[in-house]
């Protein structure tokens, strides 16, 4: 589904990604871990098409297509979803209105008929139940005055609405207490199936207790320096990141 080869990117003069290689198949969950500043969020942003990052080398093939050629909105329409670390506020625009615009633009791109108000509402009700979100939250201005937990839950609701093929969760656990974390993780798990894939970007192992990864990769200085199964996350939790840094230094 996703094949990243030797991906390099920078912001301004600062090189951040130094040759990332990663293969993701349908049905898989990959966790990307690493110390602060290792390039985790940059990788997520580059995949989503954030323009302030300049790709300086490598390639990203997504379902047989060159992902880097697509505009950010077309990547979304092709099924790439980014759950933001810091979801943005849009005053005066309700989540409902926002999602209706998004769903219909995506449907148009895919040559499907746009949803009328009734069908949209039906879809929404179904997804609301799935991720346990209250409609009163969706009537409010998008993310405005939301608590950290509400923002993240809203991201997962949007993910449910858009049914992406590839979901990238960028530090979704940051700012969440344990109850909110469980709800968010349970939403993500319900959305998993054999046709979609998830990349979980996180600093801590905590989230991975609830969203269990098939693979764990450690990112350091813009490179994946170690990959393994879910037990690698536990090892990192126990030993911290320093031993990885030492290993890299020795090599």
């Amino acid at each position: 589904m996703l094949s990243i080869k030797n991906l390099q990117a920078r912001i301004g003069d600062k090189q951040i990604l130094n040759g990332i290689n990663l293969d993701v198949k349908p049905g898989e969950v990959h966790a990307i871990m690493g110390p602060n500043g290792s390039g985790k969020s940059t990788l997520a942003s580059v995949l989503a098409g954030r323009e302030e990052f300049e790709v300086t080398g490598g390639e990203v093939v997504y379902n047989g297509k060159d992902l880097l050629e697509f505009s950010p909105e077309d990547r979304a329409r092709e099924g790439v979803f980014l759950a933001f670390q810091y979801p943005v506020e849009i005053p005066g625009v309700s989540t409902i209105n926002f999602m209706k615009t998004a769903v219909n633009q995506i449907r148009k791109y895919r040559g499907q008929e746009t949803l009328d108000a009734v069908s949209f509402l039906g879809l929404m009700k179904e997804k609301m139940k799935l991720v346990e979100i209250d409609q009163s939250l969706l009537n409010r201005s998008l993310n405005e005055g939301f608590s950290g937990g509400e923002k993240k839950r809203n991201e997962i609701f949007q993910m449910a609405m858009l049914e992406p093929k590839l979901s990238i969760l960028d530090e979704t656990d940051s700012g969440l207490d344990i109850d909110a974390l469980k709800i968010v993780a349970s939403g993500v798990n319900k959305l998993r199936n054999s046709n979609n894939a998830t990349i979980v970007v996180t600093h801590y192992q905590r989230l991975l207790e609830y969203i269990v990864p098939d693979f764990v990769h450690v990112l350091y200085k813009g490179k994946i320096v170690k990959s393994g199964g879910k037990e690698l996350a536990l090892e990192l939790e126990a030993k911290g990141y320093d031993w990885i840094k030492d290993e890299v230094a020795v090599a």
Binding site: E52, E73, A76, F84, G92, V93, F98, T101, Q105, S141
Partner: protein
């Protein structure tokens, strides 16, 4: 940065939608302004002597006045002798009904989306259409007449209802009020008159559509609304003009007189030609709008969506004379390219326990300048009065300007005035967030801007709100920075 510039450049890719003009035969006054021209206008309109005298008095006042220089706008000096002050579509005789109106004229309005042929009466909006200097047709007159509501062109009102015009004309905006009000008083061509009798709730929206068509012509319309005790009316005003290289002058006066318990809602969607991206052409829009809440518990709400004109100078105001009367001002002013707007309101609290609310949303893009100027004056006698003002500015790109000039005078200690102001920028973050959900950039801007202006747009009658939303999106198309 280069991307920003590129996007900003694209601003102009959309042409002004209403930029066509129709080859109508016109009957015009010669260029320039003097007493003879004032007489010419009055004569063409078959006005009674008192009306001519009133105009001449205004002209003499105007001749001694000087153009105000305090607004935060710049433009080359206007040569008032180079303007045509009267232009009327030629018609053999005054049309008696719609069948007699020149079909070209009807077509003009149909292009604007205004149906004068009462076929589409389902829309439930009564329209008075003013082209250049004259009102060409008023719809639904009879139906309104059954309720005692008068809704007609100003010229007709001068002839048919002189007692009302004599009583109320200039009662809210005196001819000496300001330079442009005096000019209007001397040369006003047409406009609408509306009278709602005691206790009557006007069952439909009343609407006036103004269109400037002829070249080198100024439009000086005058609207007068009188709402008797306990009455209610919602009034809409729309404006467009063709694209022309020269600047055209528009100096209107709107007066609203509200008696005890009366409620008047006045909504404007202003879309005069804004000029091209270099700032060539466009309408100079110098307008005086004021309401007098004369009676106790009366209420006047102004709602405006200002997207057009090269220069806008306009402060719809409320004089809150009656006790417990209230005034509201909801405004969205958008400027793009080289447009300049200096707009806001005045709330003058005279009566006790009077209330006012100001919600102003400025949006600046391109190289435009957008100023909010508002005055809240609470007089000594206006005990227990309240004002709430909120002035927000939204900037797009880094070459535009937003300015706020609030003036607050409070002369007693029992009143309360609140003022909130914010300035924000449409962020790359917001746009990217929308894009990541599959929404393209243009739609994202429209979504964000409409969200920002929502509080004001919500005040508009439904069909106007939809039009206004589209207009906002069109005006700002491609202007992300």
């Amino acid at each position: 940065m280069s991307k920003d510039n590129q996007l900003l450049e694209e601003l102009t890719s959309r042409e002004y939608e209403h930029g066509w003009n129709v080859a109508l035969e016109t009957d015009s006054a010669p260029k320039g302004l003097n007493e003879d021209i004032v007489r010419f206008i009055s004569e063409r309109k078959n006005e009674p002597e008192w009306m001519l005298e009133w105009r001449l008095k205004a002209f003499r006042l105007w001749s001694k006045m000087t153009e105000p220089k305090w607004p935060n706008v710049t433009y080359p000096a206007i040569n008032y002798q180079d303007i045509i002050y009267y232009s009327a579509p030629k018609q053999s005789a005054k049309p008696k009904n719609l069948e007699d109106v020149d079909p070209e004229l009807i077509k003009t309005f149909e292009k604007l989306g205004i149906s004068l042929t009462e076929q589409k009466r389902l829309t439930g909006v009564a329209v008075d259409a003013v082209i250049d200097s004259v009102s060409v047709a008023t719809t639904f007159k009879e139906k309104l007449g059954e309720l005692g509501i008068i809704f007609c062109s100003f010229s007709e009102a001068v002839r048919e209802h002189p007692e009302l015009i004599k009583k109320y004309l200039g009662s809210v905006v005196p001819m000496s009020d300001n330079y442009f009000a005096a000019l209007n008083s001397a040369v006003f061509s047409d406009g609408s008159f509306c009278y709602i009798p005691k206790g009557v709730r006007c069952p439909m929206e009343l609407s006036t559509y103004f269109r400037i068509n002829a070249a080198n012509t100024g439009q000086f319309e005058r609207t007068l609304i009188v709402a008797e005790e306990g009455s209610y009316v919602s009034y809409l005003e729309g404006c467009t003009a063709p694209m022309r290289d020269e600047n055209q002058l528009h100096a209107a006066v709107v007066e609203i007189y509200a008696m005890k318990d009366a409620h008047v809602k006045y909504s404007t969607v202003q879309n005069w030609y804004p000029g091209d991206k270099e700032g060539k052409g466009g309408i100079y829009n110098f307008v005086t709008k004021r309401a007098l809440c004369a009676g106790d518990n009366s209420k006047v709400s102004w709602t405006q969506v200002e997207t057009g004109s090269a220069i806008t100078w306009k402060y719809p105001s409320c004089v809150l004379k009656g006790d417990n009367s209230s005034g509201e001002f909801y405004s969205v002013a958008v400027t793009n390219n080289m447009q300049q707007a200096d707009t806001g309101t005045k709330m003058i609290h005279i009566g006790k326990n009077t209330k006012s609310r100001i919600v102003s949303k400025g949006i600046s893009a391109g190289k435009s300048q957008n100023s909010y100027r508002g005055q809240v004056h609470i007089m000594k006698r206006a005990e227990g009065s309240r004002n709430f003002s909120q002035c927000d500015s939204l900037l797009m790109g880094d070459q535009c300007g937003a300015h706020t000039f609030p003036y607050i005078d409070v002369e007693n200690s029992t009143s309360k005035v609140e003022h909130e102001a914010t300035t924000s920028k449409i962020g790359e973050d917001q746009i990217f967030y929308c894009q990541q959900r599959g929404i393209d950039e243009e739609s994202a801007v429209a979504l964000i801007v409409n969200g920002y202006a929502k509080e004001v747009l919500n005040q508009l009658p439904m069909e106007f709100a939809v039009e206004a939303q589209k207009l906002l999106a069109l005006t700002l198309e491609g202007s992300v920075g």
